[in-house]
Symmetry: C2
Subunit: 499 residues, 2 copies
Amino acid sequence: MLTLRHLAIDTVRENVAFLNRRCTRYHVEDFLGLGRVEVRNDGRSLLAVLNVVDDPAIVGPDEIGLSDPAFGQLGLAAGSAVQLVPPTPPESFELVRAKVGGAALTDDQLAAIIRDITDQRYSKIEIAAFLIACASFMTTAEVLGLTRAMIAAGTRLDWGGPGGIAGTIADKHCIGGIPGNRTSMIVVPIVAAHGLPIPKTSSRAITSPAGTADTMEVLANVDLPVERMQALVREAGGCLVWGGHVRLSPADDILISIERPLAIDTREQLVASILSKKAAAGSTHLLIDIPVGPSAKIRSAGEAVRLRKLFEHVGDRLGLTLEVAITDGSQPVGRGIGPVLEARDVMAVLRNDPASPADLTERALLLAGRILEFDPAVRGGSGNRRARELLESGAALASMERIIGLQGPPPAVATLGSLVAEVASPADGIVSSLDCYRLARIARLAGAPTDKGAGIDLLRKVGERVRRGEPLYRIHAGTNADFTFAQAHAADNSGVVVG
Amino acid sequence: MLTLRHLAIDTVRENVAFLNRRCTRYHVEDFLGLGRVEVRNDGRSLLAVLNVVDDPAIVGPDEIGLSDPAFGQLGLAAGSAVQLVPPTPPESFELVRAKVGGAALTDDQLAAIIRDITDQRYSKIEIAAFLIACASFMTTAEVLGLTRAMIAAGTRLDWGGPGGIAGTIADKHCIGGIPGNRTSMIVVPIVAAHGLPIPKTSSRAITSPAGTADTMEVLANVDLPVERMQALVREAGGCLVWGGHVRLSPADDILISIERPLAIDTREQLVASILSKKAAAGSTHLLIDIPVGPSAKIRSAGEAVRLRKLFEHVGDRLGLTLEVAITDGSQPVGRGIGPVLEARDVMAVLRNDPASPADLTERALLLAGRILEFDPAVRGGSGNRRARELLESGAALASMERIIGLQGPPPAVATLGSLVAEVASPADGIVSSLDCYRLARIARLAGAPTDKGAGIDLLRKVGERVRRGEPLYRIHAGTNADFTFAQAHAADNSGVVVG
């Protein structure tokens, strides 16, 4: 038996066991070729990837170290005696092999795989194998089965009960890729002001210069436990919080952590991911926003329609009322890219400021209008008008202020980056295109979203006239290193074409 | 900049960087979602998976730790200043994504992927993605391209030069799965005695109770550097060494380290793996042994023929003279399973001991005969007779003794496990089947191959008569724990059917 040790190493969603190369109880080589070990102590067992340690200060020869997630999962005290046995791979992996061989999996089979993934019985390479097998081909029935399995593997938010909300729970989701597209922060207060509950959870940026959670955090606290979020929605009709605490569809989080570094992004996995999260969040009525453009995630109308059909097919069978809006993704929305700049645009729209970006206003009203029409009391075709009334009357602003007040103050005051450089037009002419991907990258190099005040302030949009030497946009940064880096990148290729 | 630290942690074929959660220079979250970081210092750069450390004794807040393979690969001294940048995935991974999407890859594209894998620029999940995409479908042209790419990514043994061997270099390979099938240890001395050079490298067991390297190590040292192996073959005409030092087709070693835990074992990958290793070893004439049986790796004649055709197709185009022998894999070969017991059988055959297992003798003569016919001087159809002459005359034994003498004594004396239990027949009758998989598992539980004296000694083979209560086989073990475990497993299901 070996003595269990807790290592303060977070191996990020993978169980890792650390064995001393001079282990006194086991031959390390017996396990090395298998890649994994099973750690056991009466009744409890854990599969872990094996690393070998040569430093007894980290793990001694009669010890086994477990990384942070693994130690917690095994649930034994440090110092416990444990034994090692050759790993028994999760039984459901046999089904993944069948899928690799060309089989279509049943609902029960997909459920078995997703349960084992959720219980962290799969190693990262096993999860990658499952994802790639699914990416190679997947039937529509499998997408539905996978989505159901992902919902079932986690908890499902219940909005009813004493003091709860009965009936419609509205939600929206944008598949992303368009900088500055912060419509949720306008749509949620409008819909809440109308009286339709809309509990919006958002992500932080991973590869983009801002997620809605990052931008909302300029104005308010977004880091709320589920119970406070639910109370808030009952009081204000809506919220704009970070989704990290809402442990819904935990399998989705695990799958995404492998999909992202692989940049494998199929229609099937996108639909299963989004709909499992939304169904688990208790949403009943959902609007999906699919922006289409040459530098967006979805690049053609045909692709957008195929994605729409899959959303509709799966959404209908899950019992969701689902609408898809295919929108213009040809250029960034609004003027600002980066949390502080985007928050400025959003508040300008809500305040009906004449200088607010009209494209952001119109996009938000379009989406809010579609959601308002989920309300049977709103006449078909009048949602957009109703949304505009709520915005122009100040009701939406009041709703946003209530939400901000209830969520509480942001963790830190964020101000616009004080280092400013203007990127000038190389010629007289009309702006013919803005590259979403390139501009996002420059804003990110300037420091966004970690530095909330960093980013890009667009001064010209597509179709606007510009003179040679006039500024196309401003770069804001907080540190010299970021500032220099972003400027160099913009000098190389500004992302703006003047034709 | 962070200070580089070398951590004595072997993360086994994956580069891992360890960052303190309170890192003073970077926000850990900026990299966490991407899964990896790129570690840089003027000119040098390394991609590594990111782990987060909470213990400053392992990695301090102004340090970055690199695991053992990663530190060596970056090649900077401990204490060097390094910076972190967001990871740029290897360019060739774009091709893996294309393959996932259904593309067939060209030779150049496969070469680019294999080069990056060999240079350890792929993470384990990226390698898994490549393997699964290939397992889903692969054209014959791709198998050939992959094999060529794997050969080109490593060094190739040269048997010519001053004092070298010109012309035929014979080799054999068994695709495995049959316990006791130690024909190489008889074939090599026969072929060497004939005067045909046969430099045989073998593997150690990973999941089986013995590999040829494990069994040969009962008789001689198998752990020789390449130069000594080459000298030995020039002198004795053959060798039986462990292949671990011969760094040929390094990409194959990396791919296998991911394939094995996934138990993904396609025909295409098997052929590319074996032929890349054999071509890189400088073999010109190769015999492939494919045992077929209900508990073997290949379970039907049809499967064996498809595998044979692929071996022939790729082998021909690589310029190898390749023959395939499809053999009986319905039960173990010989009597012993486990290193000491198998070495006993092999030496009994070479000594022409009347008690030696006839099936092992005949199998070895069949394979040796096919290899001898690679010699233009041996008349077609007479190889088997020539092999038998060399065995019965004692020439093969003398050849084996010369090889053993030149390889040197084994690292430790191995003796048969002294704990012995007999597994009795449950009925009168005739043995109708022996389960290769089950018997291998029991032998492994008894301690083989780590405990060289452990294993199974078969007393009855298929077709032999047995009385109720008479022993079917003996279990040998060296420790009480292994002994009890193996006995319990055999009691549960002995692996022998008496009909």
